[in-house]
């Protein structure tokens, strides 16, 4: 009798887990569709124009360094456009639903607040993935064009593209966290600051080491470990010189991103669960 109850309980739990995943997938799909409808992917047109222009004209200006410039320009544009999308679309993910009052319709159905946030997050991550993949293909094609054939830099840019994508996933989660409790403008500002400070992590550590007072030292050491270390995801310049990160390094950065995103989404869910929409 007890085992039958356990099996029933387990089946119900599995079904519930399955339903949860299905709901998250449905919200993610909708968030992706909404981003496409909002013409977020139009930035790809600008990117293609930029790369085409660079491929044609940069050879004249760079003294024969067009391959390096194309990789630097392409991957930097990928990061910059991605950061803008992560910040400006990310901070509006929740806010728009509240503003348009569609959030009431969502929560009138059996959808948890955590599921809603994770679904929205994954939807934007999917948008960014499409964006980054198309841009990566664009950079590869530009390299093929300037090299008049296969270019050894093509395989080395993809690990850098993966690291850029991880950085964008981290930023999206950060934007979502801020937007769960503040206005879009403030959230965008705070996320942008995290992006900047995240690239100054090494300076925070050296600042902490150079300070005499133990209070300030603890503060900066704390900030160093608390804020996301985004400089680990900067592999654009080595990629332009044909250097790829080791598999161990990519795995460690992926693990760091996964842990950090889990922490941020948990914190965002915690804040969002307590929010009163009345």
């Amino acid at each position: 009798m007890e085992s039958t109850a356990a099996i029933t309980h387990s089946t119900t739990r599995t079904e519930s887990q399955h339903g949860k995943l299905w709901r998250i997938a449905a919200i993610a799909r909708n968030a992706f569709r909404e981003a496409v409808r909002d013409r977020v992917l139009y930035n790809l047109v600008l990117f293609v124009l930029l790369l085409t222009g660079a491929s044609v004209f940069i050879g004249e200006l760079s003294g024969g360094q067009e391959r390096k410039v194309i990789v630097d320009l392409g991957l930097s544009a990928m990061l910059l456009f991605g950061v803008f999308i992560a910040i400006f679309v990310g901070v509006g993910l929740v806010y728009k639903e509240i503003e348009r009052r569609t959030i009431y319709a969502v929560f009138s159905k059996p959808v948890g607040r955590g599921e809603f946030l994770v679904g929205k997050y994954l939807g934007l991550c999917l948008t960014l993935l499409v964006n980054v993949l198309v841009m990566g293909v664009g950079v590869s094609l530009a390299l093929l064009y300037v090299s008049h054939g296969w270019d050894p830099l093509i395989p080395t840019i993809w690990p850098a593209v993966l690291l850029i994508y991880m950085e964008l996933m981290l930023l999206t989660a950060t934007a979502l966290l801020f937007s769960s409790f503040s206005s879009p403008a403030l959230s965008a500002l705070l996320t942008f600051m995290v992006f900047i400070i995240g690239h100054f992590s090494a300076d925070l550590k050296s600042l902490a080491n150079s300070l005499g007072g133990s209070g300030a030292r603890w503060l900066f050491t704390g900030l160093y470990y608390l804020l996301p270390n985004l400089s680990n995801y900067s592999f654009i310049t080595p990629a332009a010189h044909g250097r790829a990160p080791s598999l161990g390094f990519v795995f460690a950065t992926a693990l760091y991103a996964f842990v950090y995103i889990a922490v941020i989404l948990a914190a965002a869910t915690l804040v969002f669960s307590r929010r009163n929409f009345k």
């Binding site: 003294g63 985004l230 654009i236």
Partner: protein
Amino acid sequence: MNDRNRTIALGLVVVIGIACAALLVRRLDRLRPPDDPNAIDESLYVNGKTARRISLSFNGLAADWYWMRSLQYVGRKIINDNDVPLDNLGLLNLKLLAPLLDTATTLDPEFLDPYEYAAIVLPAINVNDAIRITKKGIDANPNAWRLYHHLGYIYWQQHDYQAASEIYGRGAQIEGAPPWMEAMKAKMAADGGSRATAREIYTRMYEQSADEKVRDMARRRLLQLDSLDQRESLRKFFAAYQARAGRCPSSWKEIEPIFRALRVAVDASGAPLDPSGAPYVLGPCEVELDPKSEIPAK
């Protein structure tokens, strides 16, 4: 006004407005006082270290920008004097070139082209900057044997053959360095000031450089070395002619048959041609380069 007319009217406003704006820009261009020619030499606002710090993940792109700016800076200065070889730009007041190349290499220490450019162009402007930037490149890229070749070239230009030999020797130890690096070490130590060493160094530079301007400079220097050999032979010939005839030849026509017998290439006036194909100019028992020749006089 119906919809169609409104669309046409608005379209016309856009087209006419753009045309008027373009005309106004032309007028403003004429009214604006001319640009300060010294503005191009305005000091850089940020040094390399600060630029690297504030460039976030975009340091590679910023390095490319500084590199292109260096090329534009030199390009604008030599635009009126295209015949100046790349290694002889000392008179052009390129005071901003060293900071630009320094910043580019601080932003991206693995970017080898700015080091090469510094090694070729800077010695004529400030040799200490050239040595400092090339050494910085070696520190950041200890396995780049080409940088040792460039540093050796700077020392060779300064007639410091011992230092050049030492640097070539260090470069020769690097895995993948070509065997001629070891040969250059010996050549510098034994015969640094000879024309043969100069020919060797420029030949290697011509073969190894990916930069078209550096290759062109090396090609012109090789032509110059050939021309020096030719002029030396011609001077010996003039001395022999003077000893026999008691005077210098008054025109190339006078000695053209001898050149033809010796299978020396001459033009219609009988003047022998330098290695670039330009005729030599005859002086009193002296031979000079034609000012139009692409071979550098110095």
